[in-house]
């Protein structure tokens, strides 16, 4: 089972990495951004498996992006590995601070409280002119263990880096989802009381899932900031968080690859509808989401899940 997973992960890496050779610049950028956002969405999917949805993952996306930018601008750190590590650490600490509080809430209360936290960050950053206010900050191109590529090689290196992170994070999350703790999370989604009378702490499970989501959000934010070369408070705005929830719903909670496929599909639909219907692209996007939700209420992942269910 595990070897099948690693084989699949290696194949996914090979296929995605091949994109760096085939894809034009614009498509590679689009995919890198989509995969970075997919990481944030994977965190939401982890929470969805426990029956809650965070409407405020922009909080960690933004903290990750700002941590990387501030560290890079203040201390001259440009190494992408170090920046990612520090951002993940910052999000881990913030997630550990808010996780126990949020884990007491369910349903709309959990969603709204997480949204409120991200909007507090958005409001605070918008007022802080010392770190750019609403204009945000620029961040220089990253280096890779001392190597400082430019132009196409930079974009390629960044893309390969995102792909590697996505494959590693995706594999680890799959292992977690299939672990005892991960399956108890699934039982929690179905019925919390049952999990309690079987001896597990639902609150602890929710906290772990929230913290994992925070770390993934931070990593996604760091990569997005480095790909864009710029961060601003919009990273924490509710529409950004809403977009992550859209992707998570589109993907469903059953499959990890579906999350990244959904993220790429959403980026493509948005880009092309923006290109061909510049004044009504939101309408096209809305119709697309409506069709997917009606036809696949459990998300794209249910296509794979359904096959497995039939085989069982």
């Amino acid at each position: 089972m595990r070897s099948k997973l690693f084989l699949g992960a290696t194949a996914a890496f090979a296929v995605l990495a091949a994109g760096s050779v085939i894809l034009p610049d614009w498509a590679m950028f689009l995919c890198a951004m989509a995969l970075a956002k997919g990481l944030v969405c994977l965190g939401i999917v982890g929470m969805m498996r426990g029956g809650v949805v965070s409407f405020g993952q922009g909080l960690y996306y933004c903290i990750g992006a700002y941590t990387a930018t501030l560290v890079a601008n203040s201390f001259g750190v440009s190494d992408i590995f170090l920046l990612t590590l520090l951002s993940a650490l910052a999000c881990l600490l913030v997630g550990m601070a808010f996780g126990p509080l949020l884990s007491s809430y369910r349903g709309i209360f959990f969603a709204m409280l997480s949204l409120a936290l991200s909007m507090v960050l958005y409001g605070s950053l918008s007022k802080m002119s010392v770190i750019g206010g609403t204009d945000g900050l620029n961040i220089a191109a990253p280096t890779f263990l001392g190597w400082a590529p430019e132009g196409r090689p930079l974009q390629t290196a960044l893309y390969i880096y995102v792909v590697a992170i996505v494959v590693i994070a995706g594999t680890l999350m799959r292992i977690y989802f299939d672990s005892e703790q991960g399956l108890i999370t699934l039982a929690t989604r179905d019925n919390e009381l049952r999990v309690e009378y079987l001896g597990a702490s639902v609150r602890n499970i929710m906290t772990y899932n929230y913290v994992f989501g925070a770390v993934l959000g931070g990593i996604g934010g760091t990569i997005a900031a480095l790909a864009l070369g710029h961060v601003d408070p919009e990273f924490a705005f509710w529409t950004t968080s809403g977009e992550f929830v859209f992707v998570a719903i589109l993907a469903g909670y059953l499959s990890v690859p579906a999350v990244f496929v959904a993220a790429i599909i959403l980026e493509l639909v948005r880009s092309f509808s923006n290109l061909y219907f510049p004044n009504t692209w939101q309408l096209a996007l809305g119709i697309f989401l409506l069709v997917v939700i009606v036809l696949l209420p459990n998300g794209l992942g249910s296509l794979v899940g359904r096959r497995k269910g039939n085989a069982a």
Binding site: L183, L186, D190, N191, V195, E196, G199, A200, G309, A312
Partner: protein
Amino acid sequence: MTLKLENVQVSIQAAPILRGVSLDVGAGERMGLIGRNGAGKTTVMRTITGLAKMAAGTVKWDGEDISNMQPRLRARLGFGYMPEDRRLVPDLTVEENMLLPAWANDEIDGRKGLEFVYDLMPELANMAPRKALLLSGGQQKMAALGRALIAGRKLLLLDEPFEGVAPALARRISDVITSLKGEGLSVLIAQSELSHSSDLLQRECVIERGEIIRVNVIDPVLAGKA
């Protein structure tokens, strides 16, 4: 190890459900809780597991007051609960469902628990890889009983185990519970009528409108002592 409920009162939205219930289940004893629908049987079960909040009274396990103990900590005392609606996780396999208590509680050896359950109910071994959502109602009852047996090393709480299952399966479940005689496990079975369990219980408490109105000794050996 003895379970003791003393003057337990439970209200749900100001409506009294249990009005001073007192009962005790001795070590290794098989006790029935008999009453009509709405008499308060499930609430007694939920009170013992900690899922229902008490307005008054105490629940004692082995002399220790566990009235304020959280459900998950009571589970760690060795309480296994099979609710009336089974509550299996549809996305998990039968074996995964039965292993849930072991995953939630480090003190339970899941492998050993499975061996014990498969010895008692070999039919469950055949269904082990099947997803719970693909099982019939009766098969789900068996799987839920298996899960409760893995969790319940000291006390087994079975809520309507024979409800809605075919007579042959009800007899099979009854046989399984009877075969636990030598395990030293205390068993409390809630049900509406005695038809499937008259030969496996030692005593029965009759509950009506949230009150225990009578305790009957069924087992001839115990009756002799009484």
